[in-house]
């Protein structure tokens, strides 16, 4: 059989066109998609407020979080943790968080890893304080964006959740989070993270860490409610967020941050 150039071009275009039709059948137009990208009319947007002046580093929040959320108690992973910052007169910043501060800070020495401790005398300290960390439930969550299977997602009220049945454990989200809040759950073998105790806040309760904080250093609130005391603080006081330059729009607000806090 001979085939002319014209007919070859015609037939290849026909085949290419024929291939495109079933491919387009993979995705039908969904009006919900357009609607979803419009401004939401939700009444709730969960946000968190941390007052670093008030935190004393007792670690009750970490203990409560691990028990409440079934994170193996002795495994070195935790949904929330407390960091200690000790800034000395020589300009150095010492940071530690032994066991995520699950047992508080049982010594004045700084844990510098590999079982070594660094002793710092009280006279050398310029300032020292504690900073609780947890998931920032970002408005632009990079961890959600990188999930290849749709196992992690953001709910209408702003909380980022992980679908344990759908997660394949690829770990992209763990690498994608600039705040390092994600880890592998040692039992379920899926990505795990703080979800603002979604089972508590949706029942009108506070998160376990907020309930266990004796000093009011941690508070949760609804940003869409102008009368919420947390919203009032965020709107009227000098609050800051972590790693703003990443453009993730984090929704955990801090009072009393300094430039040393990363």
């Amino acid at each position: 059989m001979t085939i002319s150039r014209r007919s070859f071009c015609k037939k290849s275009l026909l085949i290419a066109g024929g291939l495109v039709i079933p491919l387009s059948a993979l995705e039908l137009f969904d009006p919900k998609r357009l609607l979803a990208e419009k401004n939401d009319g939700n009444k709730t947007r969960w946000v968190f407020l941390v007052d670093t002046h008030k935190c004393v580093g007792c670690g009750f929040c970490v203990k409560a979080c691990k028990i409440e959320n079934d994170i193996p108690y002795d495994a070195n992973v935790t949904r929330t943790w407390v960091e200690r910052y000790v800034i000395t007169k020589d300009g150095k910043t010492h940071i530690d968080s032994p066991k995520g501060a699950r047992d508080g800070f049982p010594t004045s020495s700084i844990d510098i890893g590999h079982g070594k401790m660094e002793q710092i005398r009280d006279e050398e300290i310029d300032k020292a304080f504690f900073v609780p960390k947890l998931c920032n439930q970002c408005d632009n969550p990079p961890c959600v964006q990188v999930c290849p299977v749709g196992a992690t997602y953001q709910t209408a009220d702003g909380v980022v959740l992980v679908d344990r049945e759908w997660c394949i454990g690829c770990g992209y989200c763990i690498m994608g989070c600039p705040y390092g809040v994600r880890f592998f759950h040692p039992v379920h073998h899926v990505a795990e993270k703080c979800n603002f105790c979604y089972h508590r806040i949706t029942k009108g309760m506070q998160t376990a860490c907020v309930d266990s904080c004796a000093f009011g250093a941690r508070r949760i609130g609804n940003l869409k409610d102008p009368d919420d005391p947390v919203t009032k603080v965020i709107m009227t006081e000098r609050v800051n967020v972590l790693k703003e330059e990443y453009g993730t729009k984090p929704q955990v607000f801090y009072l009393g941050l300094t430039k040393e806090v990363k």
Partner: protein, 158 residues
């Protein structure tokens, strides 16, 4: 025209059909775009309910108060008023049905979480009265001398 020209097309069509069938079988019915849009909303909405159904373990002092009113009133009028029952007594989840599940921590280490003196003036820790556990009655439980529900009172005498 000979069939070997069309054969690749059939193969591709069969592959696409297989992918569509597999997709129909594997993807949950409710999987789709949620309220947070195309970029952040892909999920299985029934999973939200699964997270909401997680059991609450820390039931807060309001729950303890229902039976232990006198203990509640004692601590809430003491300098320890800000501490919740479950911080020291453990989560109330199985209580009172299964008393063993209440895991009360009476250790020195528990008290030291706040009362181990750290000279951190920039944080609330520096304002808490504290001791050095190495020199302050080592080996003894704090609750022998200090009553945790009201630290102004004397503790358990053995």
């Amino acid at each position: 025209m000979k069939s070997h020209v069309w054969r690749p097309l059939y193969v591709v069509l069969v592959i696409i059909a297989l992918v569509l069938v597999a997709r129909e079988v594997l993807v949950p019915d409710d999987f789709g775009i949620g309220e947070r849009g195309y970029m952040y909303g892909w999920h299985r909405p029934s999973n939200e309910q699964q997270w909401k159904d997680v059991k609450v373990k820390y039931r807060t002092a309001e729950y303890c108060k229902e039976c232990h009113r006198e203990k509640y009133d004692e601590i809430k009028t003491s300098p320890h008023a800000n501490i919740n029952c479950e911080n020291c007594h453990g989560p109330a989840l199985g209580h009172p049905d299964d008393p063993k599940t209440l895991d009360t921590d009476r250790s020195r280490e528990l008290c030291a979480r706040c009362h181990f003196r750290l000279e951190y003036a920039a944080s609330g820790r520096g304002k808490i009265r504290g001791i050095d556990p190495k020199t302050h009655n080592p080996g003894l439980d704090c609750v022998i001398c200090h009553w945790p529900h009201d630290p102004r009172k004397e503790g358990h005498k053995q």
